[in-house]
Amino acid sequence: MPEIEFTIDTETGKCDTEIKGVQGPVCEKAAMHLKQVLGSPSVDRKTKEYYARPHVRRKIESK
């Protein structure tokens, strides 16, 4: 299940967010919503999962 994880350090007020379980454009959409709410982040990086392509198995049926 996709999720956004907020990790807030109550000593510094700093907030790290991770968008998990979604790839590519869907992730970008969630990130856009996040930026609309919180403004521009000081760090913004894509992870390996972002670039992962869904594994599609081709099924060939013979008649």
Partner: protein, 132 residues
């Protein structure tokens, strides 16, 4: 994990979140407007802000000056008397506001995405998961 972002919030980018966070901390009444003058400050160094908590509206702390939030290009930055911070509100007041601001942001995201929110605190770290 597919994307990682860090928000420092020395300035508060979102006005609605800031107002909700202030309310959560017990400051529900603010004045809003352009270049509002902060009372209680030395008249030779008049300060202005766009969001102001009037010291007269803060009953449980006897503040020396109004607290202001000055609009900048990256958001609202706090204008607060050092003495109020050190002796009245506590030196960690801005950090508590930042924490409240980020928690409010998580709630807003859960609402926006139609998701559920799970909150847990381990020591000094608050972890909030928004599942959607």
């Amino acid at each position: 994990m597919s994307k990682y972002m860090t928000f420092e919030s020395q300035t508060f980018a979102n006005e609605d979140l800031l107002l909700e966070a202030l309310s959560e901390l017990g400051f529900p009444t603010v004045d809003r407007g352009n270049g509002l003058v902060l009372n209680g400050w030395n008249s030779r160094e008049t300060r202005t802000a766009e969001i102001v908590i009037r010291r007269t509206d803060v009953k449980n702390h006897r503040l020396l000056g109004d607290i202001g939030f000055k609009k900048t290009a990256s958001g609202y930055s706090v204008v607060i008397d050092d003495m109020d911070l050190n002796y009245k509100l506590g030196r960690d007041w801005v950090t508590r506001l930042q924490t409240s601001y980020h928690e409010t942001a998580a709630k807003k995201m859960a609402k926006k995405l139609g998701g559920t929110l799970i909150r847990e605190q381990v020591g000094k770290t608050v972890k909030i998961r928004v599942r959607f």
